[in-house]
C-alpha cells in the first residue's frame, strides 16, 4: 500500500492512499461540489497552483476520455478524492484517472474523509497544504511551519496562458481571445458560432490586439488574484469602448478593475456546478458553473460606469456587469459550462449579437 498525507497549515493531517505521481506538492487547498465533470475540473487552468478536493466521494467512475479536457496540460497541484474508481465504465473511457495523473506527473490522494476537509475549508477559508510524496516520512511540525511561511507564486496566469498567439479559424466574426488560462470550452463555444478566433497571450498589448482588427474581444477565465496581472488590467482599460467585449471569470474581474472597481478574496470561493445566479434584467435565475476565489466588490461599483446585471442568489455577490455606455459585458461564472449546467450558454449568442450590432452601428456612422 502506498500511503500519502495531506498536511494543512492549520495543523490537520489526513492520511490516505497515493495515486498519480509519486512526488510531493504544495498548493492552496480548495473544494468543488460538482458531482460530474472531474475531467473538466482537473484540467481547468483556473485551478492553477491549487490542490483540488472533490466533495463527491466517487470519482473516476467514467474514466478519462479523449474529448473532455479543458486544457492540454492540467495546472492543478494535486487532487483529493474520497474514492477513486479502479475500473471505470463508459463508452468513451480510455483510462483511469490514476494513469492520467501518472502520465501528467500530478499527485493525488484518496481514502480520506473529504467531507471533514471540506467543512474545515468552509470554516477556516482556503488553506495552504502539502501533499507528501508517496510513502514520504515527514516531520509534520516542520511542514506546517514551512507552509505558514511560504507564499505561493503569484504568476499563475503567466504559467497557464499561451506563450504565443494562434488562430482557431472560422468564417464569422473575428474574436481576439485573451488567454488568462482559458478553458477550451470558451473556444469551443465561439467556434460553434463560426467565430474566427485568435487566441493571444495574456500580456499582448492593445496595439497588437487591435492589429488583428477584431469584431470583438473575449477575456477568458484564469487562475488567481486579478490584481496579480496589472498589465492585463491596463490593456483592458484601453480596449473598453473600442471593440465589443465579453469577459468570463477572471476576465470579469479584470474588466471591473479596469473600470475602477475593487475586488476581494472570498472566504472559500465559489466552486461547483449548482450556483444560482439571478439576472436582474429578466428577474430569472439560472444555475451556473463557477470556479473563483475572488469577487468584485459591489460597493466599489458606484464610482464606475458599470452596472450590475447578475448577482449570486445565495450570498449576493457580483456575478455580472455591463458597461453603461460601451459595448462590454462580463460574468463571473462559466457560460461555457463543461463542467456544469448550460443554462447561461445564450450569453455567447448575446456576444455575437453585440458584435453584429456594433458593426452595424459603425457602418451607419461611416455611411
Amino acid at each position: 500500500m502506498t500511503t500519502r498525507k495531506l498536511i494543512l497549515e492549520t495543523g490537520e493531517v489526513f492520511e490516505g492512499q497515493a495515486f498519480g505521481s509519486d512526488k510531493g506538492s504544495d498548493g492552496e487547498v480548495v473544494f468543488t461540489t460538482g458531482m460530474t465533470g472531474y475531467q473538466e475540473t482537473l484540467s481547468d487552468p483556473s485551478f492553477c497552483g491549487q490542490i483540488v478536493t472533490m466533495t463527491y466521494p466517487l470519482i473516476g467512475n467514467y474514466g478519462i476520455n479523449r474529448d473532455d479536457f479543458e486544457t492540454i496540460s492540467p495546472a492543478i497541484k494535486g487532487f483529493v478524492v474520497h474514492e477513486l474508481a479502479k475500473t471505470p465504465s463508459n463508452f468513451r473511457n480510455e483510462g483511469t484517472v490514476d494513469d492520467y495523473f501518472k502520465m501528467k506527473d500530478i499527485p493525488g490522494i484518496e481514502g480520506i474523509d473529504t467531507r471533514k476537509l471540506t467543512r474545515l475549508i468552509r470554516n477556516e477559508g482556503s488553506v495552504k497544504g502539502y501533499l507528501t510524496a508517496t510513502n514520504e516520512e515527514v516531520n509534520v511540525e516542520e511542514v506546517i511551519e514551512r507552509l505558514k511561511s511560504t507564499t505561493f507564486p503569484i504568476n499563475q496566469v503567466e504559467q497557464v496562458s499561451t506563450k504565443s498567439a494562434y488562430p482557431s479559424p472560422g468564417r464569422g466574426q473575428r474574436v481576439v481571445l485573451m488567454d488568462f488560462g482559458m478553458k477550451h470550452g470558451i473556444l469551443r463555444e465561439l467556434n460553434n458560432r463560426d467565430c474566427d478566433v485568435v487566441v493571444v497571450p495574456y500580456n499582448t498589448t492593445v496595439e497588437e490586439i487591435l492589429a488583428y482588427k477584431p469584431d470583438g474581444i473575449m477575456l477568458s477565465n484564469g487562475p488567481g488574484d486579478p490584481l496579480d496581472v496589472p498589465e492585463a488590467i491596463e490593456t483592458v482599460k484601453n480596449l473598453i469602448g473600442k471593440v465589443p467585449l465579453f469577459g468570463i471569470c477572471l476576465g470579469h474581474q479584470l474588466f471591473a478593475l479596469a473600470s475602477g472597481a475593487q475586488t476581494f478574496k472570498l472566504k472559500f470561493g465559489h466552486r461547483g456546478a449548482n450556483h444560482p445566479v439571478k439576472d436582474l434584467r429578466t428577474d430569472r435565475t439560472e444555475l451556473t458553473s463557477q470556479n473563483h476565489g475572488y469577487a468584485v466588490d459591489m460597493d466599489s461599483l458606484a464610482a464606475t460606469d458599470l452596472e450590475v446585471t447578475h448577482v449570486a442568489l445565495n450570498d449576493g455577490t457580483c456575478e455580472g456587469l455591463r458597461h453603461k455606455t460601451a459595448p462590454a459585458f462580463t460574468v463571473q461564472y462559466h457560460p461555457e459550462a463543461s463542467p456544469g449546467p448550460e443554462d447561461p450558454n445564450h450569453l455567447f449568442d448575446e456576444f455575437i449579437e453585440l458584435m453584429k450590432n456594433n458593426t452595424r452601428e459603425e457602418q451607419q456612422q461611416h455611411a
Partner: protein
C-alpha cells in the same frame, strides 16, 4: 413573485388507499403540501379516503374529508366547501385522474374552481400517449418508435413493421398497470387486451423495446417565472425494461459523464418548460450505453414516488415547495429549508451515494409470477446512504428485512449454474442475490453483463463485495481487513459468519479497536454551507457531525419498508409517538429506512437517522445518543423483533417490557397467563416439528389454524383440514424450530372482534371495539371492520371490556395493545394479543378523537391516562357508522390467488363513514374501487358447504332485480329453492363458459367460494384471476357478499308484486 391573494381556499386531493404503485410517498407529499399551504395562510380542504395517513389528521388541514375520491363525492365537497382552487398534483395518479374527471364533468367551470400546479392541458399532454409523442416531435426530443393503438389488431400491425420485442404502455394508468413487454403473439394478445381494459380511454402505446439502455431519471421543478431546476438525477442499476419502481436505483447517476448528465438535464428542463408545469415533474430517459443517443421514456407531470425518493436522497423537500409554487411563489424567493440560509432555486450537491431497493410481496404470494417488467410489483422500498457504492448497497440490503444481511441467499449451494444464469438474465425480485451467487462461483462480470446488461461499473462494485468475503475468510480478526470490510458496508453478522464468531462478538471486537461509524449530515450542499438540519446517516469516516445534545432523548424505531401486513399505519403511529415525546419535553430521535414516509421527513423529529433497522445499526446510534430508552411498540414487528437483542445489550425498552412482550407472544406462557386470568382461548398448542404438529392437530380435531409464532400480517397462516395437509404445511411453509415454534389452534367459526387498548400500568382505555364483517378465518387486515359493532349484545361488550382490561393489566402492557377475539356459540375467546400498535390505530384514533399513539407514548413516559384527560374503560361510542374496507393490488400481481383467508393480502384500506351501516359500506366499497351497480347480473359459483347460505343471498339478489348466472351445481341448488338462474358452463366445456361470461363483462359481480385447500390450478383460481384481469369484483366470502347486497338493497327499491288478497272479492 408574491403568493396569490386572489385565492383563499384550496382543495387538496389525496391519493386514496395504498396500492402497489401508489404508496406512503403520497402521504408524505400530501402532508407536506397541506402544511405548506396552511403556512402561507390558505384555508386547506383535504379529501382522502385513506384513514391510515398523517395527512388525514385534522391538524394537517383546516377541513379533512375522509370520503371516497370519486366524482360523486368530490363534487359534493366542492359544492359544500366552495374552494377557489384545487391542487391535484400531489395525490398521485388518483389525484390527476380525479382532476380530469372533475373538469370533464363541468363542475370546475360551474363552481369557478381553478386547477393549481399543472394545468389540465399539460396533464393531458404528458399522460395522453399521442399528445405526448407529438409534443416530443415538436421539441425534437427522440422517443422510441411507437404507435397508439385502440385494438389488438392495430398492435399486431405495428409488430409486423417493427418486430418483437415491444413494450405496451396503457394510457392513464398507474405504475404501468396492464402493461408489459411482449416477445410473441400470445403475449401481445394477452397484454394488449388487458392494457386496453385498464386504460380509462382504451388506449395503449406500443413501442419498440429499448431494453438494455441505461435508465436515468431527473426530478425537475419549475415555477411561474420559468425558473427550472433539477433536484436530483438517479440511475437505475437495472437497465431499461424494468419499471423504475421495481429497479434498484442509485442517486446521483454514477456512470454518466458531465456531457451525458447535462445533455439529459437540458432535455428534462426543456420538457418541463414546454409542458408549462408549475411544480414538480419526473422525467425518465433511456441512454444508449454506447453512444450519446437517448430516448425519452415517460414524464409524470406531478409529484411521484421518485420525487419522494429524491427528497429523502437530497434533503430537498420537493412536495413542500411544489405546493408553494402552485400558489405563485417562486424558487428564487423561497429559502432552502435544509440550510435555512440559501435559496430553494439551486440544485442539491450530494457528497454521498444513495441506494434504493424495492420491497416485493413475493414472500407472501408464493404462487405469484416473480418476473419483473414494465408493471410495478413492489409494495415499498428501502433507501440507504453511504460514502461508497458498496456501503450504500449493503446497508440497503439489510434494511429490506427479508432475512438478508448480505448479498447472499439461503440454500444457494443447491442452485444449479443454469438456474442462476436464468435468474440473472430474466430479472426477478431476487436477481441481486443470484448475481452475488454467480460472482461467488467465479462467473466473470463480462458474462454477467451479457446476461443482464447491468453496467460493468455496478458489476465491478458487486464483485468487490463478493471478493472481500474471501479476504475476510483468510484474515480472521485482522483489524485492517475488518476496517475495510466495515467501510464497504459489511454487517457484523456477515463478518461473524466468515470469522466463526457471533454478531455481538464482532461488534465488541470492533469497538475495542475503535472501528465505529460516524454520522454525517444530509445537507443538500455537500458541506458548502453550514446547515442545521438534523438529518444523518452513518458511515465509516473520521469526523462525526451528530452531536449529542444536553436534552434527555428517546429513540423511536420506525417500521421499515412498507409491505403487506406492515403498512403506512405503523408510520402513522411512529410519527404520533415522536410528537408525543416532544410534547413531553424530550428530544425525539427516529431511526428508519423507508424513504416514502412522513416519519423520515427531517422536520418531524429532533433528529432523524436514516439507517437500517438492525441491531448493529441501531446500537451504534444508541451508543452515541445514550437515550433514556427506546420505544419499539409503534414500529410494527420490525421494531418489536429488535427488543430482546436491545435489552440483552442493556438498552432500556420503554413501555411494555420485553418479558410482557414475550408473555403475549410465547404460546405456552400466554396460555398459562390466560388460564390464570380465566380467559378462554381456542384450544391450541405449539409444535416444533412435524410429528408434534400432527399429534396436536389430531388431538384438537380438524380444521385447525396453523401459523408460525412472531409474525405479522398472518404470514404463512393457514386453515388446515387434514393430516395430509398439515404435513405438507410443515414441510413447505415454515421452518419450525425450538426458537421458532408453530402455533396450532382449533379453528373456531364465529364473529371476529378486534379491540385496541391503551394501558398505563394501572388504567386501561379502550377507544373502541370493532366488529368484522367476515367471520373468523379471514385475516383481520383483509376483513371489513365496523365501528361501533352492530350486532353485539351488551353482555358480550361487557365481556370484551372486562377481558381487555384484565389482559392489559395481567400481561403488564404499558402502551398500546391489540386483541383479536372470536365469538363462537355465544362465548368470547381470545385469538391473539399483540403487545404493540396495530393496523387499526389510525382508524380508531380518527373516529374517537383519542390520539392513541400519542396517549400511549405519554403513558409510557409516565403520565397516566387519567392525568392526560382521557377516559378509562370503554370510551363513549361515537355517532355514526365507520367501516374500514381493505384494498387489494391483485391487478398488479399475476397468478396470485385472490381468495381471502388467514394470510393477509391487502395492501391498503379506506374508510367509509355515514349515518347507517349501508351508507358507510357504500362509501367504503366505492372508495376501495368496487363498482356497485343497482342492477345487473351476479355470477355465482359456490362450494357445497356454502350452497344453503348462497341460496339465501341469491333470493335477495332476485328480489332487487338482479339476474343470476350460476354454474351447474350452484344452479341446481338454487333451482331446488325455486330460484331460476342461467346456467353457465364450467371452464373447459364446449359452449360459452364462465370465462366468456367474465371476459364479455356479462356479470357485474362474482361470488365464488373456495372448496378447500390451496390448489391454484383449479377452476376457482382461474375464475378469480379472470375477474381481476377484467376488473370485476369477485367476492370470496359470503359475508362480504351479504354486505354488498345490503348496500344495493338500500340503494334500490324492491320489485315485489302486491300480495295476493286472502279474501276473494266478488267482482
Amino acid at each position: 413573485m408574491p403568493k396569490r391573494q386572489d385565492i383563499k381556499s384550496i382543495l387538496v386531493i389525496g391519493s386514496g388507499p395504498i396500492i402497489i404503485g401508489q404508496a406512503a410517498e403520497f402521504d408524505y407529499a400530501g402532508t407536506q403540501a397541506c402544511l405548506s399551504l396552511k403556512e402561507e395562510g390558505y384555508r386547506v380542504i383535504l379529501i382522502n379516503s385513506n384513514p391510515a395517513t398523517i395527512m388525514t389528521d385534522t391538524q394537517i388541514a383546516d377541513k379533512v374529508y375522509i370520503e371516497p375520491i370519486s366524482l360523486e363525492f368530490v363534487s359534493r365537497i366542492i359544492r359544500k366547501e366552495r374552494p377557489d382552487a384545487i391542487l391535484p398534483t400531489l395525490g398521485g395518479q388518483t389525484g390527476l385522474n380525479m382532476a380530469i374527471e372533475l373538469h370533464n364533468s363541468g363542475i370546475l367551470d360551474e363552481m369557478n374552481v381553478e386547477i393549481l400546479g399543472t394545468k389540465l392541458d399539460a396533464i393531458n399532454q404528458a399522460e395522453d400517449r399521442d399528445l405526448f409523442r407529438n409534443l416530443m416531435y415538436e421539441l425534437d426530443v427522440p422517443t422510441p418508435e411507437s404507435e397508439i393503438v385502440h385494438t389488438v389488431e392495430e398492435a399486431e400491425a405495428f409488430v409486423k413493421k417493427i418486430g418483437y420485442p415491444i413494450i405496451v404502455r396503457p394510457a392513464f394508468t398507474l405504475g404501468g398497470t396492464g402493461g408489459g413487454i411482449c416477445e410473441n403473439d400470445q403475449e401481445l394478445h394477452e397484454i394488449v387486451t388487458s392494457g386496453l381494459k385498464y386504460s380509462p380511454v382504451t388506449q395503449c402505446l406500443v413501442e419498440k423495446s429499448i431494453a438494455g439502455y441505461k435508465e436515468i431519471e431527473y426530478e425537475v421543478m419549475r415555477d411561474s417565472k420559468d425558473n427550472a431546476i433539477v433536484v436530483c438525477n438517479m440511475e437505475n442499476v437495472d437497465p431499461v425494461g424494468i419499471h423504475t419502481g421495481d429497479s434498484i436505483v442509485v442517486a446521483p447517476s454514477q456512470t454518466l459523464s458531465d456531457r451525458e448528465y447535462h445533455m439529459l438535464r437540458n432535455v428534462s428542463l426543456k420538457i418541463i418548460r414546454a409542458l408549462g408545469i408549475e411544480g414538480g415533474c419526473n422525467v425518465q430517459l433511456a441512454l444508449d450505453p454506447n453512444s450519446f443517443n437517448y430516448y425519452i421514456i415517460e414524464v409524470n407531470p406531478r409529484v411521484s414516488r421518485s420525487s419522494a425518493l429524491a427528497s429523502k436522497a437530497t434533503g430537498y423537500p420537493i412536495a413542500k415547495l411544489a405546493a408553494k409554487i402552485a400558489v405563485g411563489l417562486t424558487l428564487d424567493e423561497m429559502i432552502n429549508p435544509v440550510t435555512g440560509k440559501t435559496y430553494a432555486c439551486f440544485e442539491p450537491a450530494l457528497d454521498y451515494i444513495v441506494a434504493k431497493i424495492p420491497r416485493w410481496p413475493f414472500d407472501k404470494f408464493e404462487g405469484a409470477k416473480r418476473n419483473l417488467g414494465t408493471q410495478m410489483k413492489a409494495t415499498g422500498e428501502v433507501m440507504a446512504i453511504g460514502r461508497n457504492f458498496e456501503e450504500a448497497m449493503l446497508k440497503a440490503v439489510r434494511s429490506l428485512e427479508t432475512g438478508h444481511k448480505h448479498i447472499e441467499m439461503k440454500h444457494a449451494e443447491d442452485l444449479t449454474d443454469e438456474w442462476i444464469k436464468k435468474r440473472v438474465t430474466k430479472a426477478g425480485d431476487e436477481r441481486l442475490f443470484f448475481l452475488g451467487e454467480a460472482l461467488r462461483r467465479g462467473v466473470t462480470i463480462e458474462e454477467i453483463h451479457e446476461w443482464s446488461k447491468i453496467d460493468l461499473f455496478f458489476l465491478n462494485k458487486f464483485k468487490n463485495i463478493i471478493d472481500y468475503e474471501t479476504t475476510l475468510k483468510e484474515n480472521v480478526r485482522d483489524v485492517a481487513v475488518l476496517r475495510y470490510a466495515k467501510k464497504i458496508g459489511f454487517a457484523d453478522e456477515t463478518i461473524g459468519k466468515l470469522w466463526g464468531m457471533n454478531e455481538s462478538d464482532v461488534y465488541d471486537f470492533r469497538k475495542e479497536n475503535g472501528i465505529i461509524p460516524v454520522y454525517k449530515m444530509v445537507d443538500t450542499c455537500a458541506a458548502e454551507f453550514e446547515s442545521e438540519t438534523p438529518y444523518f446517516y452513518g458511515t465509516y469516516g473520521d469526523e462525526n457531525e451528530s452531536i449529542k445534545t444536553d436534552r434527555e432523548s428517546v429513540i423511536v424505531l420506525g417500521s421499515g419498508p412498507i409491505r403487506i401486513g406492515q403498512g403506512v399505519e405503523f408510520d402513522y403511529a411512529t410519527v404520533h409517538s415522536v410528537w408525543a415525546i416532544q410534547e413531553a419535553g424530550y428530544e425525539a430521535i427516529i431511526v428508519n429506512s423507508n424513504p416514502e414516509t412522513v416519519s423520515t421527513d427531517f422536520s418531524i423529529s429532533d433528529k432523524l437517522y436514516f439507517e437500517p433497522l438492525t441491531i448493529e445499526d441501531v446500537m451504534h446510534i444508541i451508543d452515541l445518543e445514550q437515550p433514556k430508552g427506546v420505544v419499539v411498540q409503534f414500529g410494527g414487528q420490525t421494531a418489536i423483533n429488535l427488543a430482546d437483542q436491545l435489552e440483552a445489550r442493556g438498552v432500556k425498552i420503554l413501555g411494555t417490557s420485553l418479558d410482557s412482550i414475550d408473555l403475549a407472544e410465547s404460546r405456552d406462557r400466554f396460555e398459562a397467563a390466560l388460564h390464570e386470568l380465566d380467559i378462554p382461548q381456542p384450544l391450541g398448542k405449539t409444535a416444533t416439528n412435524t410429528e408434534d404438529a400432527v399429534k396436536i392437530a389430531e388431538s384438537i380435531g380438524y380444521p385447525v389454524l396453523v401459523r408460525p409464532s412472531y409474525v405479522l400480517g398472518g404470514r404463512a397462516m393457514q386453515i388446515v383440514y387434514s393430516t395430509e395437509e398439515i404435513k405438507h404445511y410443515m414441510a413447505t411453509a415454515v421452518e419450525a424450530s425450538p426458537e421458532k415454534p408453530v402455533l396450532i389452534d382449533r379453528y373456531l367459526t364465529g364473529k371476529e372482534i378486534e379491540v385496541d387498548a391503551i394501558c398505563d400500568g394501572t388504567n386501561v382505555c379502550i377507544p373502541g371495539i370493532m366488529e368484522h364483517i367476515e367471520r373468523a378465518g379471514v385475516h383481520s387486515g383483509d376483513s371489513i371492520a365496523v365501528y361501533p359493532p352492530q350486532n353485539l349484545s351488551q353482555k358480550h361488550i361487557d365481556t370484551l371490556v372486562d377481558y381487555t382490561t384484565r389482559l392489559a393489566l395481567g400481561l403488564g402492557i404499558k402502551g398500546l395493545m391489540n386483541i383479536q377475539y372470536v365469538i363462537s356459540n355465544d362465548e368470547v375467546y381470545v385469538i391473539e394479543v399483540n403487545p404493540r400498535a396495530s393496523r387499526t390505530v389510525p382508524f380508531l384514533s380518527k373516529i374517537t378523537n383519542i390520539p392513541m399513539a400519542n396517549v400511549a407514548t405519554k403513558a409510557i413516559l409516565g403520565t397516566s391516562i387519567i392525568d392526560q384527560g382521557f377516559p378509562t374503560g370503554l370510551a363513549p361510542i361515537q355517532e355514526g357508522v365507520y367501516v374500514k374496507v381493505p384494498v387489494f393490488s391483485f391487478a398488479k400481481l399475476r397468478r396470485v390467488d385472490t381468495t381471502l383467508g388467514p394470510e393477509m393480502k391487502s395492501t391498503g384500506e379506506v374508510m367509509g363513514k355515514d349515518c347507517t351501516l349501508e351508507k358507510a359500506l357504500y362509501k367504503g366499497f366505492v372508495a376501495a374501487g368496487t363498482k356497485i351497480e343497482d342492477h345487473g347480473s351476479v355470477l355465482m359459483t359456490v362450494s357445497d358447504k356454502d350452497k344453503a347460505e348462497a341460496t339465501e343471498l341469491a333470493k335477495r339478489f332476485v328480489e332487487i332485480g338482479y339476474s343470476i348466472l350460476a354454474t351447474p351445481g350452484t344452479a341446481k341448488a338454487l333451482e331446488a329453492a325455486g330460484i331460476s338462474s342461467t346456467v353457465v358452463d364450467k371452464i373447459g366445456s364446449n359452449g360459452p363458459t364462465l370465462l366468456d361470461v367474465i371476459q364479455n363483462g356479462d356479470a357485474q359481480l362474482i361470488i365464488n367460494t373456495l372448496t378447500k385447500g390451496q390448489q391454484p390450478a383449479r377452476d376457482g383460481f382461474r375464475i378469480r384471476r379472470e375477474a381481476v384481469e377484467n376488473g370485476i369484483a369477485c367476492l370470496t366470502s359470503l359475508d362480504t357478499a351479504d354486505a354488498i347486497l345490503k348496500v344495493i338493497e338500500s340503494m334500490t327499491f324492491t320489485a315485489m308484486p302486491m300480495p295476493k288478497a286472502k279474501v276473494e272479492v266478488n267482482m
